[in-house]
Subunit: 427 residues, 2 copies
């Protein structure tokens, strides 16, 4: 395009943009929030505990015959440990020694796991608070709340590039195997936040085969989207636990999951799965921190979800609600931006996000334009450690919360903002 | 008694003791556990959320119109903050700035509050982990789980004697006002664990008027038994918050409570109340630790308990179940031990425990004898920092969990054990 054409194009976009502004929109595509209709899928959790989950006495006992309403069971009720273990690939026979089921926030399990390492150290190694410098690897773009945990403890977050098969393992191996101050890595191994990438088998095997320079290095494997397929069949993630056992690295990982996006984001249950030795260590500290988790809610969840098949059924109902939302956003991106050479984006097969990369130096401006027109996006840069996206290109788009109609408008506006920001840059 | 009489007495007791042993008892008076009948009082929490607590849409929205099933509300839903604030003496108008409502374990709120001070420091003061030595005052006998928290962080627990009006305030003042390494004190101000002592107005005022040598000293005020009266009217505890405000010490305290012994020990809600400045500081860290508490359970609790009057009604139902249990134990102690000069015990008007002091050097032996005959008591010494009861006299008796019939047997056996241990000592 020549200068005049660019100007005409810019004026046309500006007119469209002003049209959106006049609509006084108030939409949010910032966070991976389930829509109200998704939450309605778990209505039985608001109903009476079904008779089948009560003992003959009418009391809510767990499978060991203990009262879920009373104190105890620091690591959760047996049937919930089996259920959440299944979600994380732990066989039922190992649930008692490898799975902890906690309250509604798996972020708390992650934070507390890092906090224990900082305060008390991992398996006899020095507490991280007593070391001159501790580093964590942060595949980026990634999940801002992960990066915030380690940043909050004064741990240095090191950016590692993501590839279509997971974190760049050459770089991961170099850091982990040569630098004893590298103590952990944040991973969302299936339908990664925000790209929707599922780590390849080779990536998982290379993780399992790491020979860390630090004996207290751990993989923080947040399998937040373990069953969150948008299409069938969903991606298959190689089982990290088995791979670590095979590689002779049984203690290398902490795996996390929750039902936040299976049942209620504000009333689910969470899990940590790790080796028996790691779990015993965590339980030793947890004993001082808690009188036990909310076991009644664990019983509710088992009564509702039953088993992994029950979870998969529930996830198909979620997919029926949110897959069309992803399609609206993706088809709008396609229609508005394809072939312009100013953007690329991911086509996730699961998870909660689309990762969008605009022209270098336009992400912040795009988000600003959208916000001024009433559409909130994840803060540009938020997907990078310290909020610093060096090229200012990445925006995480979260299509689940708004309605289909709202998404059609919001994603068109988003495209107009991205084009306008690109033209401003090119002028 | 002469030697022969002592021998006869000892033989008679041994015969009674062996009689108990032959009954193969398996009773537990160790922990302050609600009985199943008490848990049944909160049956509505296992039922459907009442229609009155749902929005016209049928969805469980909080009083601000936000969906309790979704993410957010890091400090809890407004109506739960008002309810738990009322329990802790915080006016509804201040709930938003002074009350946090969390998950089911107030112990977790206490642990995390200490952990934040250790890791990050309090209001700009150095993190406790970077100080050469940190001390906490522990009124004793007291609650073993409190002492375990600070012990676990390597904080030095300093024993302070309890009096019938609370901790010995001369000693508290001396430590707090002269030693900058004293950073906190553990208090159960109403129906203290295990004595059942309610701190006098003067004690509370002296707490509020403390002029700590350390700017980051805080009172950890665990009002676990705020409404747990056994008789009416219950004890009145002076409001620490008002007293601190009057004394110009608004930031001096963290107050804690939970519904563990109001609704479900394994499925209740908990609260922290403190000054706006302290709460803002805590929230800043909590933001990294949690995506918000289980708000659905908070809504359930508000629907069931409604307000402070609703809580008081519920507590009268609890008292109707457990006051007779305390009477059985107390009347057995009276019958078996009164006038012998080998024991004294408290007559609590609320709370969960009777504090028993036997002859010096007999507590461990008494607990051992009881255990061998099938009755588990709180480990002798557990009520002191580091489990160390220098005179080996104190045993905490928890009458709530066993049935009345079981308690009659268990408390008689307990007395026989205490007498036998005393005679063994005297011989």
């Amino acid at each position: 395009m020549n200068v005049q054409q660019l100007r005409a194009e810019f004026d046309a976009l500006t007119e469209r943009y002003e049209g959106f502004k006049r609509q006084n929109l108030a939409l949010n595509m910032a966070r991976g929030k389930p829509a109200p209709e998704q939450l309605d899928l778990s209505a039985p959790l608001l109903e009476a505990l079904p008779a089948g989950s009560l003992a003959p006495s009418g009391r809510p006992l767990d499978s060991a015959g203990e009262d879920t309403r009373n104190y105890g069971k620091l690591l959760g009720i047996p049937e919930a440990r089996v259920l959440m273990g299944a979600l994380l690939g732990v066989p039922a026979s190992a649930a008692t020694s490898e799975v902890l089921v906690g309250g509604n926030s798996s972020l708390t399990l992650m934070y507390d796991t890092v906090a224990r390492a900082v305060l008390f150290g991992v398996r006899g190694f020095k507490p991280w608070s007593r070391l001159p410098g501790v580093k964590f690897l942060c595949p980026a773009p990634g999940y801002d709340r992960h990066f915030a945990i380690t940043e909050g403890f004064g741990i240095k977050n090191i950016e590692v590039p993501m590839t279509p098969s997971g974190p760049d393992m050459d770089i991961v191996e170099r850091h982990v195997q040569t630098d004893p101050s590298v103590k952990g890595i944040w991973c969302v191994p299936k339908y990664s936040n925000p790209q929707g990438v599922t780590y390849s088998d080779e990536t998982v095997r290379r993780f399992a085969a790491l020979r860390p320079a630090a004996g207290d290095f751990r993989i923080f494997w947040d399998n937040a989207y373990a069953v969150h397929d948008l299409e069938e069949p969903g991606d298959e993630l190689l089982d990290l636990r088995s791979a670590c056992l095979e590689a002779g690295n049984p203690d290398l990982y902490y795996m996390f999951a929750s039902t936040s996006k299976i049942t209620f984001a504000g009333g689910g249950i969470s899990a940590l799965a790790t080796s028996p030795a790691n779990l015993t260590e965590a339980a030793g500290h947890l004993e001082r921190q808690s009188i036990g988790p909310d076991k009644v809610n664990q019983l509710r969840h088992v009564a509702f979800l039953r088993d992994l098949d029950g979870i998969r059924e529930q996830m198909r109902r979620h997919a029926a609600l949110i897959a069309p939302k992803f399609r609206v956003v993706l088809s709008t991106l396609e229609r508005e931006l394809n072939g312009l050479g100013i953007a690329r984006w991911t086509q996730p097969r699961g998870g909660y996000f689309i990762s969008f990369d605009g022209l270098s130096g336009t992400a912040k401006r795009t988000a600003e334009l959208a916000r001024e027109a009433g559409v909130v996006l994840t803060g540009a840069g938020a997907t990078f450690p310290y909020g610093s996206d060096h090229h200012d290109t990445n925006i995480r788009v979260a299509p689940t919360y708004p309605s289909l109609e709202e998404l059609a408008v919001a994603s068109e506006l988003f495209c107009v903002c991205a084009r306008k920001a690109a033209l401003e840059k090119l002028r």
